[in-house]
Symmetry: none
DNA sequence: ATTCGCGCAATGTTTCTGCAATGTTGGAAT
DNA sequence: ATTCCAACATTGCAGAAACATTGCGCGAAT
């Protein structure tokens, strides 16, 4: 359980840190909108606690921005501005709950638990080809619903081919998908991985096969 | 949009009825727990507004009853008992929000909108894998109903794995769940925690095991 | 003062993977 | 049709990652 605390008063921040730590919640603390923006970039939080008065502006501004970025973590606004207009505005901007300071920490935690009971369910992104399926978010291939274990490079090859299944994947694109920039290959390693993967798919009777498009690249499609 | 109002004070009820009607919300009004029980039976509501003091008892009692019946509608508790112990109790019984009377109707509507934005599903309070159980809200693992004591880091690892049990948890996601960004790890500490946790699970015969997905992450699933 | 958890690192183990040697194939040019 | 060559396929292998395990010492909590 990891949450982001956006709060510029250090006393408040450290008090919350102590209290939430006792509940085995990991906190990332930032003190400005700019830092918050950076913190959510890439990482995903179970929840976000947001102060309104921040050195670089009104905290509420951040909410629509995050929602526009598809960041669906529950947001609880914490603030000394505890009038109902503020609460209504915060909630309507996309916050999930709103607490006026001062508050009892236990209540904050209870409200956290309440918003966390409602799961932020992300629609699973699953590609199917033949009897193969690939869960993109979890990088998990499966065959007839049973998880398929593959070495990393073969997995990356399969992922790239499945994401563009039925279309030819240009050799160069495949190299980019499988190798990061800092690793350079100086031989036919890619071909070797394709070969091994192809053999496995055939052996497993996966109902999908890798075709070679000579001079261009590879293509995955259902057999028959 | 149709909501159930459980409230015995008629003034309050009719005031709410008027206010919500203006927002095209249809209200079914009942004045007792017994009637509420009957009303939810068969019909499904977008939300439930629940008073605490009712002629046939304490309104909060109804919440776990509804949840046990798989009625997942958001519940907002409205009450004159507006102390924080009551709020905590209400929320922990399964309410989604809690408002003290008197309140501004517009705020109630904003809070209604907020809870209606969230997914309608409830994630189970307790996740089970093998003989292991994990109370997500309280971050408490148990084995055969007996509480399991784990060091913080191992607990966080277990929490992350159980929340996504049966699915691969990408290594980086696991690091994110366990470490806040001010403590950066420079070695194989995560592996060490996984190793120790794995050993404990095996020693306790927990009926669940951590599998390694080489190059990707870890996966918790029931053994056999 | 003592215990416990943690990060770290040294060491051992397993599994991958890049490479290269060698075999195969498709099609362009004659 | 035949030849020839570049592109691709296959496979063993040794070095390299990735991971597992365990002990240690520091520091926080009790």
């Amino acid at each position: 359980m990891r949450i982001l605390l956006v709060e510029d008063e250090l006393d408040m921040a450290s008090a919350l840190n102590d209290a939430l730590s006792k509940h085995n919640i990991v906190i990332d603390h930032v003190a400005s909108i700019a830092d918050a923006r950076e913190a959510v970039h890439g990482r995903s939080y179970d929840a976000i606690l947001l102060d309104r008065q921040l050195p670089d502006g009104e905290g509420l501004r951040l909410i629509p921005e995050l929602r526009a970025d598809n960041i669906d973590s529950p947001i609880i606004v914490l603030t000394a501005h505890n009038d109902h207009e503020g609460r209504i505005r915060g909630l309507d901007l996309g916050a999930d709950d709103y607490m006026g300071k001062p508050f009892v920490v236990e209540e904050l935690i209870a409200r956290l638990r309440a918003v966390l009971r409602r799961p932020t369910l992300l629609s699973p992104d699953i590609i199917r080809v033949g009897r193969l399926a690939f869960d993109v978010a979890h990088m998990e291939p499966s065959l007839d619903g049973k998880q398929l274990l593959l070495p990393r490079r073969e997995l990356l090859v399969l992922a790239a081919l499945m994401k563009r299944s039925g279309r030819t994947v240009i050799r160069e694109a495949l190299v980019n998908a499988v190798y990061s920039f800092d690793v350079e290959i100086q031989s036919n390693s890619l071909d070797a991985h394709v070969s091994r993967l192809r053999k496995k798919l055939a052996g497993l009777n996966a109902g999908a096969a890798i075709h070679t498009i000579r001079g261009i690249g590879y293509l995955l499609k259902a057999s028959e």
